[in-house]
Each structure stands twice: as structure tokens, then as C-alpha cells.
């Protein structure tokens, strides 16, 4: 299918496809907004498992009475566990949690409410941790780009780094939009996936640029031909590695979905789409963009 595909000449097509996906993402962002997990924004979430459904309105008023704040309440499921989730915008003390647990155990005896998981954190700590994560992303991106620029000085270091950066931003946005579109709260998993895709996507780009470096040493062909040849040369490798990676992630995603392990679903799904996007952007975006920029540079000189 891609046997005689001219990656460089068809850059426009790839850009249009990417732009369309980005537009959908931006639209969803405008409609749904970004949801932050407690670890970033602070607050409290308590999940109880139960055997017999409790009266939600009553549970809400009991919780509000004990905790002294507005409590949101919702039914949830994790695998074969039936859950009820209480959320609060402020953090609470162990003392308050303890009295809530005792109170619901007494008031809802027939439901057998038991703590499934709970999490509470102050808003100030959440903000600081969010900052730490964003800083980590920035540091990782800078380190990686410096490395690529350094390793590929021969093939136009900065320009190659910049072209890789475009592909990277593209993949990170895809991961981000996956969270937005599927309504997954941004949490530790988000940072882990973003960082992994950062490395993974760059890895793909490096393999291509490495091939370009080798081919340019051997031949005097035009830049466009060299990049096209390189892309065709690494095509099989990129596709096969992407497939093996996606098979591994799919195994995790499938089993997690089947068994209701939500914390892993919100990890594997963005990872899967990020990995696919990583290979796509390396093949269709970074190389061709680099050619475009190098030609512009040459025209100016």
C-alpha cells in the first residue's frame, strides 16, 4: 500500500489529517474541558463497596453532615465490585474520615459499606505536585532534544531537532486529547504516559534520521529522495515494532477492560494511541518537514 508512497511530496495530506484530529481534540477540549485528578487539584474522594444499594440522597446528607461541605455522590463499578463514590472539593482529616466510616457503617448497616479506596489532599499540595510534573515533562523534552541535536549535528542538528519537536508535540497532543475525549482525569498516569510517548516517539524519529545520515554519506541524491528512501527503508521496522508494542499494550488494555481495573485502562488506552501516533508522526511528519525546512534554508542562502 505504501510501497511507492512519496512521503515528502504528500506532507500536505498528512498535515491535513493531523490538523483534523487536532481540531476534534480542541473542540472536545472546549466542550468537555480538562478534568484534573485529586492528586493535582486537591480534594477528597472516598469509594465504598456495598452489597445492597444504599439510599444515595440519605448517604449524601449524612456525609455532608459529618464532613461539613458539599458532597457529590455517584454510583460506580469496577469489575464485579459495586461502588459508590463520594467527592468533596476540600481535603479532610483522618479524624473526619474515621467518623464518616463509623457513621455510615451504623446508618447503612444492611448495605455493608466498606472502604474500597480513598484519597484526600490539600489544594496547595496538588498545585505544587502538578508543577513538579510539568517541570519533569519540560526537563525530559529539553534533555531529549539536546541529545538528538548533539547526535545529529551532521544532518543539520537544530533543524532536525526542531522537526523532531513538531512530531513530539503532535504525539503529546494526541495523548492529551485522548484523556480529554474519553473524559479521563489527568493524574500520575497522564504524566507517565506523556513521558513514555516522548521517548518512544523520539526513538522512532531517531531510527529514521539515523538512516538518513547513513544514506547521505553514501549518495549525492536530492534531499527529498534520500528522505523518501530512508522512510521506505525503515517502514517495515517501524510498522513491526509498533505492532509488537501495540499488541503488548492491547493485552494490558483488553484484560484491564474485561476485569474492570480502571486505573490501568486510563494508562493503557492513551499509551496505545500515543504509540500509534508516535510511529505515524515519525513516518509522515518529522522527515518530510525536515526536508521542507532544509530546502527553505538552502533557498535563502
Amino acid at each position: 500500500m505504501l510501497k511507492n508512497y512519496n512521503f515528502v511530496a504528500n506532507l500536505k495530506k498528512a498535515l491535513i489529517i493531523s490538523a483534523a484530529i487536532m481540531l476534534v481534540g480542541v473542540a472536545c477540549l472546549a466542550i468537555f474541558g480538562v478534568k484534573l485528578d485529586i492528586s493535582f487539584k486537591g480534594g477528597t474522594r472516598i469509594q465504598y463497596s456495598y452489597t445492597e444499594a444504599p439510599d444515595l440522597d440519605k448517604l449524601q446528607s449524612v456525609a455532608e453532615e459529618v464532613l461539613g461541605g458539599d458532597v457529590e455522590i455517584a454510583k460506580d463499578e469496577a469489575g464485579d465490585q459495586k461502588l459508590v463514590t463520594l467527592t468533596l472539593t476540600k481535603n479532610i482529616s483522618s479524624d473526619q474520615q474515621e467518623s464518616l466510616h463509623e457513621r455510615v457503617a451504623k446508618d447503612f448497616e444492611s448495605s455493608k459499606l466498606t472502604v474500597f479506596n480513598s484519597n484526600t489532599l490539600s489544594a496547595a499540595m496538588g498545585t505544587k505536585f502538578l508543577f513538579r510534573c510539568l517541570l519533569a515533562l519540560a526537563i525530559a523534552a529539553v534533555l531529549l532534544l539536546v541529545y538528538v541535536g548533539f547526535r545529529f549535528r551532521k544532518i543539520g542538528g537544530l533543524t532536525a531537532g526542531a522537526a523532531a519537536l513538531v512530531a513530539l508535540l503532535h504525539d503529546l497532543l494526541i495523548v492529551f486529547f485522548t484523556f480529554v475525549i474519553f473524559g479521563i482525569e489527568l493524574d500520575n498516569n497522564f504524566v507517565a504516559v506523556m513521558l513514555t510517548i516522548l521517548g518512544y516517539s523520539l526513538n522512532d524519529t531517531i531510527v529514521i534520521f539515523d538512516r538518513v545520515r547513513t544514506l547521505r554519506r553514501r549518495s549525492d541524491a536530492s534531499l527529498e529522495d534520500v528522505v523518501n528512501d530512508s522512510l521506505h527503508h525503515v517502514l517495515r521496522r517501524t510498522i513491526i515494532t509498533t505492532v509488537t508494542t501495540c499488541v503488548a499494550i492491547l493485552a494490558v488494555l483488553g484484560v484491564a477492560l474485561a476485569m474492570g481495573v480502571t486505573s490501568i485502562v486510563s494508562f493503557a488506552l492513551p499509551m496505545l494511541l500515543g504509540a500509534i501516533s508516535g510511529s505515524y508522526s515519525s513516518l509522515f511528519l518529522s522527515g518530510p518537514i525536515w526536508v521542507r525546512w532544509m530546502n527553505k534554508k538552502a533557498a535563502k542562502a
Partner: protein, 476 residues
Amino acid sequence: MKRTPKAAFFIVAVVILALCVTSIFGVYGKFGDRTDTVIRGISDIRWGVDIQGGVDVVFGPADENANPTSEQIDAVKTIIEKRLVSQNITDYEAYADAANGQVIVRFPWANKSQSAESLVEDLGRTGMLQFYEGNETTTDDNGYSIPKGTLVLDGDDVASAEATYMQVSETSTQQEYVIALKLKDSGKTAFANATKKLAGTGKISIWLDFGEGWAKENDQSRYQMLQDPDVNEAITNGEAVITGFASYEEAKEIADLITSGALPFSITDKSISVISPTMGANALSAMGIAGIIAMIAVCVMMVAIYRLPGFVAAIALCGQMALTVACISGYFGFIPSFTMTLPGIAGLILSIGIGVDCNVITAEAVRDELRAGKTIDGAIRSGSKGSFSAIFDGNITVLIVAAVLMGVFGSSDGIFGWLFSWLPVSTTGAVYAFGYTLLIGVVTNFVMGMWLSRLMLRSISRLKIFRNPWFYGGER
């Protein structure tokens, strides 16, 4: 060039097989009714609180503007650790984050009789330091022993307690481990009077009082005696030295406990996260199944696509996984065991997919060289050489990512934690293990995917039945 012997493949394959078996099942010796762990297997892996259920807590001063010193944070950590041990919780992790004035504690908890929250409340309760004349005790109404002597000082009178190594006696040059105790002006007179009275004949006992409420809840004495040193001479300047410690650690623990009873602020839980054991048990078996599926699927794909190099890749992949598991379980004595979490296992499975990349790159290069008309040996040699730099670069990028991941999600004393020591750490530590498995994945990939795969391929290619280019993706 020296040829790789044919036997090399079989030797490496047997070593990998042995590694797989021992790292999965472990090796245990039975001596009578006692079982000794010789090599740690999967069942010896320490699972994180997200798998076995447990609690993540951050403790800090109740007053936001308290600005605790690093000695005070150490003291908070020590008292919390002591509490955990007294509750029979020994597989906890505790970190003092001095830069942000907090202590992070993680421990498994599956006890139905006491809720995690009430335990957390107890852990954070600091005792009030008290100094009594003599070390005699009496029993209270509930039959617990409590100090009998006259109260001399309490925590408010103590300025600092520090473990140190110094020369104590004027007649000998020998140095020993001691606690240097400094009192505030408020305590000097009372301490001077008491020591004058007891010099040469009596003791002063140091206690932590945890209060009535704590005693009731835990069914223990509210008082805990830390130390009862002899009084050698009258101390009038408010600077005392407590001797008689065998090691620095011993002196430091008591000094920390004294400091914990004299903190100028109270301790509270800043963040708590509780996970029930039922939540994690499901997840662990899910990840186990996913791992096996991923492993089989990737191996089958590799053999189907690349034939002989694919078969070698599958063996190397088994070796890589076994080596990674070994680095987690503490198989090798020099690599300490690592707490494994769900994201950690996800990282392990991800590295199955990513790990074969170097085999794919090499196998593709060999295939190209063969189709360009090279001999099998020549194709393997130049294919391996030509693909090295791309594989190396790819692994470096993952290494950088893994280091940053471990830095951002680890505590400040974890590997790479110094990167972000000035910002507060994550309250849940699950992702730290993901960084670790990625990191170990890269290292083991260098050993298995690069070095041993190539060795095995060169060796097996010398067998007569594999002298057909078809086995390497070439024409028959």
C-alpha cells in the same frame, strides 16, 4: 575474525532457561521444618500498596508556617516508624522530605478490626516529652506502668537533642556515641536542682506521654520510657550529655524520639490515600494474564516474521523478562529488591513490546544485506554492525525518560530523586516503579537483545541445517 563456536547458542539458551526457572520459582532450601530462601522468585516480590492494599500518608506540621528543620522532620519519621513497628507493621516505607517539611509513609494494611484512618491518626500523634526524677514506676488504674518520681521538665523546656561522637571523660581520650541535650532557659533551674539532688546516686528517666485517648484506643500505657541515664554530676548550664550507646544509630533513634516529644508544632496527616486489598488482588491477576498474552503474542509474531532471528529474539525476550524480574525480586544480592506496583508491571509488559525493537532492527538489516547478495555470515556481521547506532540512540532516549520518571515520582532519597528534591513528592508512589521497570528494561535489553541475541544468532547460523538464507528472510 574469530568464529563463534556452535556450542555458544546452546550454552546461552540453557543459561537463559535456568535464569527463567529460578527467577520465576525461586530456589528454597528445606532444613527440617525451616525453609530458607536461597534465590528469590516471583512469590518473594514485595508488592506495592496499590496491589496488596494499604495506605499512603503524608505527615507534616499542622501549622502551614511552621518551617520545621531537617532534624525535626527526622524526629517525626523516627517516631512514626517506631509506632508502625509496635503495630507489627514492618514492611513499611518511610521517607523524610526535609525540603518540604513532610514525612511520607506507605504501608500495607488489611486489618479489618482497626480502620486505616484511625491507625493514621495514631501514627501522627506525637508524644509529650517528660523528665522524671528516678526511674521507679507505679501502676495506674488499668494496670499499666507509669512514672512515679517527681516531674522535672517537659518537652517545652528542651531546646535540642543531637546524637554525636565525642570524648566524654577528661581522663581518657576514648570517644563514644552520646546524645548532646540542650535545655531552654525555662528548664535550666529545675534541671540544675534535680541533678544536684541526684548526682552520683540517682537516675533521671525520660518518657513520652501519648495521652489518655491514645492509651484507651491502643490498650497500652500512655507512657513510654526512652532512657534512664545515671546522674553523674550537677548540671547547671542546661547542657547535658547522655552516654552509654553502642552505636550511632542507637543514639540517633533516642535523640530523634526526644526531639519528637519536644516539637514546637503538632503533626497532622496532610494527605491520605487508602486502597482496599480487594481492589489490588483483581488487578494483579489481570496484569499477570496480560503479561502472558503479550509474551506469547510477541514471540509468535517474531518467529512468524523473522524465522531464525525471530526465534533467537523470542529466547532473548524470555531472558530479558527473567533478568528484569530478577532485578525486581532481589535475585542478585547486590541489587536490592524493589516494591512492584501496577504501573510497574505495565512497564514490564510494555518493555516486551518495545524490547524486541532491537531484534527487529537487526533482523531487518540482515535481511536487506542478504537480498543485496551477501552471504549469511557477511549479512549477519554487517547487519549487526550497521544497526548498532540506531538501537543505541533509541535506548538512550528511553533511559532519559526513565530517569526523569523516577525523579519526579520517587522520594528525594530514591534513585534520581535529587532531580526534584525541592518540590513536594507524589503522595502515591505507584508510578515510581514504572520508571524503574523502564530503566531495567533498557539495561537488560542491552544484555539480551543486543549482546546475547547476536552471539546466539552468529552461533546458531553455523549449524548445517540453518545454512539456508530462507531462515534469515532471504531467498531460498
